[in-house]
Subunit: 271 residues, 3 copies
């Protein structure tokens, strides 16, 4: 089933508007191309909405934020909503500064997201904006030990926001509040690749753009694709290879991913 | 003959000022270094003209545009004109938004370009600014079927603007309005490398900077070098390699290009 | 001894705030991760100080400068000083424009630096701000021939600024004004890697963040690590490899560096 999600990306080659931090913009563009979609990076308020209107999906990434990019994100997000295009939020660094936290809350208040992709800490900061009760440790990572409680948290967050939550860590939880995919693909070496999370968010936007009626499956397929690419890339590693070669191998693996390999390699259970 | 163009780059190591989008800036700097020249990236209006004045060439790339970068491009372009330095325009995304279209038209109105390097759609948007008649399909790619009409279009564009037109696609047309190089180097996999066009424009600026009296030959040599590098890089591809390794192999191939290899591998006809 | 510096980075995984140019930001983030530390890139004045306060070190890089980034650098630097965190300055392009020269002088006047890492020309521009006498050729590179006089110059600069000077070239001079490390690691191919100097500065910030009481040894260890990585990376080069593969191999080598390899491979003398 996840294979058909990728097939749709390859077949329709959707154009995806990315308002992305400048650190990982190149890798995000590369991975969008690698999966079969086409990226446009544009963050100027004078053109943001217009660019969005030419695209089939939008990815908002809050790394290296500034006032100009923030204004573009809000305007582009609203336009995408008006046009019925899926919008993905990557709340990079939510909680690291008041500026970022306010930015993600403004976005959450003004834009309906198809998917929100972040780590536990980031999702928790967003959740606190709509439910101050919280109760999840800000520094928690998803592990077998806390999987049940974090899954319940992610499902509740998804129900409140109306977005698919893709909460990633050692185990990834992807849920629309009713169904949850628990994904065990990936490799620990991925944390040495800067912007692996940003890349996943851009990939998710591409998958959602080609599958606008199925955001849950699109997000699950993107999470499995990225994790499986991380596994396949790690198998190529020679003794002298390190994180830079690994980064390239991951993008290579997405370029070479097929629906069949994705179906075979996806390691998830549904709850 | 094209080999001597590259030889001049290697011998004189010209400094090239690049006002570039942030997505592909690193790759553009890498390819300028790889060909033997030296890049300076600077986009702040307070220093743009001064940086240009220290250089031997200028490349203006309109990706991820904003008002600040636009002001720098215009000022730097005018300064380069005043100093007689070759200026290359890469009208990235011309036509994708009013902001970009107005920016490229402002640049075209205020700066004399040695070379304008873009795809058919982008060149057409620029041409419409000086000749609204148009008639070339905005979505057209250069193919054997429309080669004659697109060559005529590019030649007319070059005559009107006084710039060498480097209109790239499956076949590349490089012309000063009198002579046209039709270049068949390159590989389809290059479209999976984000910013391959940006890299070619930066390379063209380096080649023009080292050969200021021969912009047509400089542009043709850059187009052949990039395309040939794409071919050589593709021959290195192992089964597990994908677009990220390919991107590196292209830059590697430019670093290892020699005048002899360029002469041998350049695949063009003149009309 | 230098091995223990790296050991401390790996053991404590310090968070490092980088205000970096957009051209080399990704590589700088990659090398900070590769050495075992963790980067945060943030350049917005509204969050810069707050991000700094969450970190253990700060790196200020003046490439692609603008007014916004300049304000962030000054504010973040002052905050780091107030908190006792080590700050590294990379005065990229000092002397290339009045804007950059004034920026580095403002930073030098307002922030106490643990380490200043630049080439001879850049360090000279900074030195002229505090001692207009100068006397060192702006275009000089450190070579065996001028090593003694440039070492004396760097030591004097370190004494005046109170910062460790890391003046890099064919030979690197690292000094606190009393002791000097003369480092002969590195490879000429490194000049084809854009931002190799930026990467070294970010690495230095990571090393200083984990060893705040030993900025001289931290800078010397970072210089040796980067140079040794350049040597190890060069040994991996296959005939078709070029500067892009080389760039990846350098980061790979930092990821695979061990305290033992660093101790064995570091090629320096102390004066």
């Amino acid at each position: 089933m996840l294979g058909s999600i990728l097939e749709n990306v390859r077949r329709t080659r959707p154009l995806v508007h990315c308002i992305n931090n400048y650190v990982t913009a190149n890798d995000c563009a590369m991975i969008v191309l690698a999966c079969g979609a086409s990226p446009i990076m544009a963050d100027e308020p004078e053109e943001a909405e217009e660019i969005t209107a030419r695209c089939r999906g939008l990815c908002l990434n809050t790394g290296t934020p500034d006032a100009r990019r923030a204004a573009s994100m809000l305007a582009a997000g609203k336009r995408a909503n008006a046009l019925g295009l899926p919008v993905v939020l990557d709340p990079v660094g939510a909680g690291a500064s008041r500026f970022r936290t306010e930015l993600v809350r403004t976005l959450l208040g003004g834009v309906r997201f198809a998917v929100i992709r972040g780590n536990v800490s980031e999702i928790r900061v967003l959740a606190a904006g709509t439910d101050a009760a919280g109760g999840v440790d800000a520094d928690a990572a998803v592990t077998e030990g806390n999987l049940a409680s974090l899954t319940a948290f992610a499902m509740e967050f998804a129900r409140r926001t109306g977005a698919v939550a893709a909460m990633t860590g050692a185990i990834d939880v992807v849920t629309d509040g009713k169904t949850a995919y628990l994904v065990r693909n990936g490799h620990p070496e991925m944390r040495y690749v800067t912007g692996a999370g940003c890349q996943l968010s851009a990939l998710t936007a591409a998958f959602a753009a080609a599958n606008p009626e199925r955001p849950l499956e699109a997000a699950a397929a993107a999470v499995c694709t990225m994790g499986l690419a991380g596994e396949l890339a790690y198998r190529r590693m020679k003794p002298e290879d390190g994180s830079a070669s690994y980064r390239n191998y991951i993008i290579d693996a997405v370029r070479n991913m097929t629906p069949e390999r994705l179906e075979e390699g996806a390691d998830y259970e549904m709850r």
